[in-house]
Symmetry: C2
C-alpha cells in the first residue's frame, strides 16, 4: 500500500470520540474485509455476552460468580437495588475517609496528620494502585504512597527504611480479599512487628480492604483498625482498580476518583455498542485477533510515549495474561490461549529493542499510546520552532512508519492528556477489550485456575522444610541428603530437600553443612545442638 | 521423567562456582544428547570467536570496530599498552572524582556538598545505571540519583519537581557518546534552562561522559564543566555499564565499583573456558538455543525473586534484544533473529501472569533468579520455624515444579546475595551469553542497523513540521489538509501532516483548526496572525 492508500485506510478505520478526545487507529494491523466477515458471528455473540454479563449473568461459570466491575462506575446497572446502594455507600465512605484523613480528623496517635501510605498487597491489589499513583499522583501529594508487593524480606526492609521516622505518621493499607494471600499476610506481619518494635500502635495506623467474613476482616475488627472497606466476590482482583482497592489510596493521594469513575463509565457506554466500527473495545479485540490469528501468535508490546504511563504495561500484563491465558475453552477443549504482554515506554524503549522489533523475529504487534498534551506548563523551544515534545511525537510517528515498512503491525491509541478521566477510560477500554476477545476465542476470562498449582506446590515446599528441620533436630548424627530425605519420608523430593538445606544454610538458621555445598553428593547435614 | 530422574539430570548439569557462590541449573530445559552433539561444531566456533574478540579482532565488521568491554575489567587483556593504561587511568579518575565529591572538594558553587545526581541519558546510558542503582545503592546513599531517560516534557518536569530546591546541590551527569542523541540533548537543554531560570551556574554542576571529539565534549570544554569522562568506540552502549557510563554514578552513590569490576573479571575468566559444561555462559546460550530452536521461537521471561533485581529484565531487554534481533546473518542471509525478553520479579509476577505461563500459550521459557540470602538483618519468624524468605523460596520452587509439570521450560540461576561482586558477575555472564549465542546463530551482536531507520523517520517528521508551519505562516486563508499538504509539497505525507496539526493544536502553538479535529476531512487549518 502506498502512503495515500494508507491514509484512506487510516480514515476508514479511525475511531474517534469527541467527548473523551479519544482516538483508536487499527489501520496498521493487517486485516481485510474477509477477516471482518469471518469474525461477524463471533462479534454478534460477544455483544450478547456483554449484555448478559452486565445484566448479572454468571459470566464466570467455573467459580459460579457474577462479573460486576462495570457496576462500580454506574451503580444504576447493578442487578439489584441492594447492590446499587452498596456501591454508592461504599464510594461515599471512601470519600468520607479521605476527607477525614486530609483534615486530620483521622490522625496518627501522636497528633498531626498522616503523611504517608504504606500499601500492602500483591497482584490486582498492587498493580492498579501502582499504575495510577505513577500516572496521576500530584508532584506533592497530601500523602505519599509506598508499596510492599512481595514477600522478599530485603525488599520489605528497604521500603521501611525509605519511610524512616515517618512510620509514625504512616497509614498502613492491607489489601487482600481472603486475608490468606501469604505475601500480603507476611508483609502485614513484618510491618506490624516494626510498629511494635518502635512502640507504635499498629491498629491505630491500619485499615483493611478485604472480603466479607475474611480472616483479614476478623483481624481488623478484633484489633480495632481505623477502617474496613469491602472487596466483593463479583469483582476480580485484576478488575478491581475502580473498587476500594484502587480508589482509597488514589483519593488519599489527592487523585480525583469521581473523575476516574466517570471516565470509565463513559468508556463503558461506548464499548457497549453492538457495532464493530462504533465500539473501540471491539476494534481493539479485532486487532488483537487479526494480529495473532486468535491464537496469541504475536506478543502485545505496549509503548506509551509518556513517562507517567510507564506502569500501564505491567498493569495490562495481569489484566490480559491472567484473563486470556487459559488451557481450556468454555467447551472443555485444550486450546492454550493467551497473549503475552510487555513494554515500558517510548521513546526510551526504542533505544532498548526497536532494533529487534524492526529487524528481528516478527512475533509481536505494537500498541503506541500517544498523548497530545506535552506538558502542563508553557512550552519551551529546544531549537527554533521545535520542542522536546515535538521530538517525542516524531519518534512515535517515525517508529510507526519504520515498523510498517517492514510489515510489523501496530495499533495507535491517542488521548488528549493523562488525567483521571482518561485513565479511567483506558482501564475500562482494556477491561472490555479483554471481555470481547475472550468471547471471540470462547474462554472464561474471569477465573485463574492455573495459579492454584503454584500455590499448592509452594505450600508443600514449606511442609517439606518443616519435616526436614524436625528430622534434623531429632537426628543423632550428620546425614547425607539421601539419608535425610529417606528419614523424613520424602525420598522422591530430594532435589527440593537439597534446596531447602542450601537456603537454611545461607541464612544461618541452625543447620550445619559439611562438604561442598555446590556438590550435593558430598554434603552431610546436621542441626546445631 | 520422574523426580529421581530429574534429580539425576539436575546434578549432571548443575554448574557451580565456589568462588562466586554461583549456580546455574539448565536441567529443566528440554534438550538431549543429540542436541549437544549437533551443537558441538557451533560451540567450537563460538569459543574461537571469543578468543579472537578478546584479542582485539574486528568483531563488529559492519562498523569496523573492536569489541572491548572485557578489557574494562581486566586491562591486561587490552591489545595495546596504550589501551591498557587508558583503562587504568580512567578507572582511577572515576575514583578520584568520587573521593573529591564525597569530601566536598568538588562542591556546589554555594558551598557544602553535592546531595543528588541527575543522570541524563537513554538506552545503554540509562538502563545499566538504573539497574545498578536499584540493586546496589545503600538506603541512605551519599548522593541520591534521579534519571531523565526520555524527551517527554511532562516527565522532565516531574523529575525536576522531585528534586526541588536541592537542584542547587545536584550534580548533573550528561551521557551520550556522540552528543547527538536527541533525547539526551533535549534533556540537557531543558535542565540547563531550569538552572538558568533559577540563576544557577549550570557548568558548575555538570559533568559529561562522552566520546572523543564529540559535540558534547566540545560543549563541556567550552563551558568549563566539572569533568569529562570517556566513552570509547570499542564499548557499545549496551555493554557500557562497567565503563564510566555506569561506574561514575555508581561510585558517587557509594557503590563499590572495584568489586563490580572484580566480579565481572572473575565471571569473564569462567566464561572463557572452551568446554560447554565448564562454561556457564555457554550453558546459558545452549539453553536459549534449545528452548527456541535457535530461531527465537520462545520468549525469555526473567524472574528474579528479589525486589532489588526488579530492573534486571529491563537491562537485559536491551542487551539481548538489541544484540540478537537482527535481519541478516553474517553471510547476508535474511534470518530475522532475536529473542524477546520480559519480566519483573517473583513472586509478584506469579500474581500477574503465571496463570498464562502455566496454562496458556507455550511461547516462552522462564529464568528464575534465586538469591540465597534473605535479608542482611537477623531473620524474623512469621510463624513457628518459617520466615517470609522461606515463603519466597517456596514460591520459586513451587512455580518451577508447576511449570515443569506442564512441559514449560525453565533455567534457574542461584546467587548467594545481591552485592557488587555478584552484580558485576551477572552482567558479565549475560554479556558473554549473548556473544556465544550470536556465534551459534552466526550474527553480528555488536551493531544496531535497525535503529537508524526510526531515527531518520523521526527527523523527517520534524522537517515536515517545519514545512507545515512555514506554509501556514505564509498562507492567506485557511486550508484543508489536502491543500496544506499540497502547498507544502508533501502531498504523500498527508497522514503525518494531520498528526502534526493535531499535536500543534493540542499544545497551543499558534495553529487554528476549524471543523472537527477527529474527522480529518472536515478541518481547515490556519495560523494565528
Amino acid at each position: 500500500m502506498n502512503n495515500l492508500q494508507l491514509w484512506q485506510r487510516y480514515q476508514d478505520w479511525l475511531y474517534y470520540n469527541e467527548d473523551l478526545g479519544f482516538y483508536l487507529d487499527i489501520s496498521r494491523i493487517s486485516f481485510d474485509d474477509a477477516t471482518i466477515e469471518e469474525l461477524k458471528p463471533k462479534f454478534d455473540r460477544a455483544f450478547k455476552d456483554i449484555d448478559a454479563l452486565e445484566g448479572g449473568a454468571i459470566a464466570n461459570p467455573d467459580e459460579n460468580r457474577m462479573v460486576g466491575h462495570y457496576w462500580l462506575r454506574d451503580p444504576d446497572l447493578a442487578p439489584t437495588p441492594e447492590l446499587r446502594q452498596d456501591i454508592i455507600d461504599t464510594n461515599n465512605s471512601v470519600l468520607e475517609f479521605q476527607r477525614q484523613v486530609h483534615r486530620g480528623e483521622i490522625h496518627p496517635p501522636s497528633g498531626g496528620k498522616f503523611t504517608d501510605i504504606l500499601s500492602i498487597g500483591i497482584g490486582g491489589s498492587a498493580l492498579g494502585p501502582q499504575f495510577v499513583a505513577q500516572a496521576l499522583a500530584p508532584n506533592d501529594p497530601p500523602l505519599k504512597i509506598h508499596f510492599i508487593d512481595n514477600t522478599d524480606p530485603a525488599g520489605i526492609d528497604r521500603v521501611i527504611a525509605g519511610i524512616g521516622d515517618r512510620l509514625e505518621t504512616t497509614l498502613v493499607s492491607v489489601i487482600s480479599k481472603s486475608g490468606g494471600t501469604p505475601e500480603t499476610r507476611n508483609g502485614m506481619l513484618e510491618v506490624k512487628k516494626v510498629y511494635q518494635d518502635r512502640n507504635l500502635d499498629f491498629a491505630a495506623h491500619a485499615f483493611a480492604i478485604t472480603g466479607k467474613s475474611s480472616k483479614l476482616e476478623a483481624i481488623a475488627e478484633r484489633e480495632g483498625w481505623l477502617a474496613i472497606f469491602p472487596m466483593r466476590d463479583w469483582v476480580g482482583g485484576r478488575t478491581s482498580e475502580l473498587s476500594p482497592v484502587g480508589l482509597v489510596s488514589a483519593a488519599l493521594q489527592g487523585i480525583d476518583i469521581k473523575a476516574m469513575l466517570e471516565g470509565a463509565k463513559t468508556m463503558d457506554a461506548l464499548t457497549r455498542q453492538h457495532s464493530l466500527q462504533d465500539n473501540p473495545a471491539a476494534l481493539l479485540a479485532m486487532a488483537w485477533y487479526s494480529a495473532g490469528h486468535g491464537r496469541g501468535e504475536k506478543d502485545m508490546v505496549i509503548l506509551p510515549y509518556k513517562d507517567s504511563l510507564l506502569l500501564f504495561s505491567r498493569y495490562l500484563q495481569q489484566l490480559i495474561m491472567e484473563s486470556l491465558g487459559k488451557e481450556k475453552d468454555l467447551d472443555g477443549n485444550v486450546v492454550n490461549q493467551g497473549i503475552a504482554v510487555y513494554g515500558n515506554k517510548g521513546s526510551t524503549d526504542q533505544h532498548a529493542y526497536v532494533q529487534q522489533l524492526r529487524e528481528g523475529v516478527n512475533n509481536f504487534f505494537l500498541t503506541f499510546i500517544e498523548v497530545l498534551e506535552d506538558r502542563t506548563r508553557e512550552y519551551v523551544e529546544i531549537e527554533p520552532g521545535i520542542t522536546s515534545g515535538d521530538y517525542l511525537k516524531g519518534f512515535l510517528l517515525g517508529t510507526r512508519t519504520a515498523l510498517n515498512d517492514k510489515q510489523r503491525d501496530s495499533i495507535t491509541i491517542t488521548i488528549p492528556k493523562v488525567n483521571e478521566r482518561i485513565v479511567g477510560a483506558l482501564i475500562a477500554l482494556y477491561e472490555r477489550g479483554v471481555s470481547i476477545y475472550a468471547s471471540l476465542v470462547n474462554i472464561n476470562a474471569y477465573h485463574q485456575p492455573g495459579v492454584e498449582a503454584g500455590k499448592k506446590a509452594a505450600a508443600s515446599v514449606l511442609d517439606l522444610q518443616k519435616k526436614v528441620v524436625e528430622t534434623l533436630q531429632h537426628a543423632s548424627a550428620a546425614m547425607s541428603l539421601e539419608e535425610l530425605a529417606d528419614k523424613a519420608q520424602v525420598s522422591q523430593e530430594i532435589e527440593t530437600v537439597y534446596k531447602i538445606v542450601r537456603h537454611l544454610n545461607a541464612n544461618e538458621r541452625g543447620i550445619i553443612v559439611q562438604g561442598k555445598i555446590g556438590q550435593p553428593n558430598t554434603i552431610k547435614v546436621s542441626w546445631q545442638k
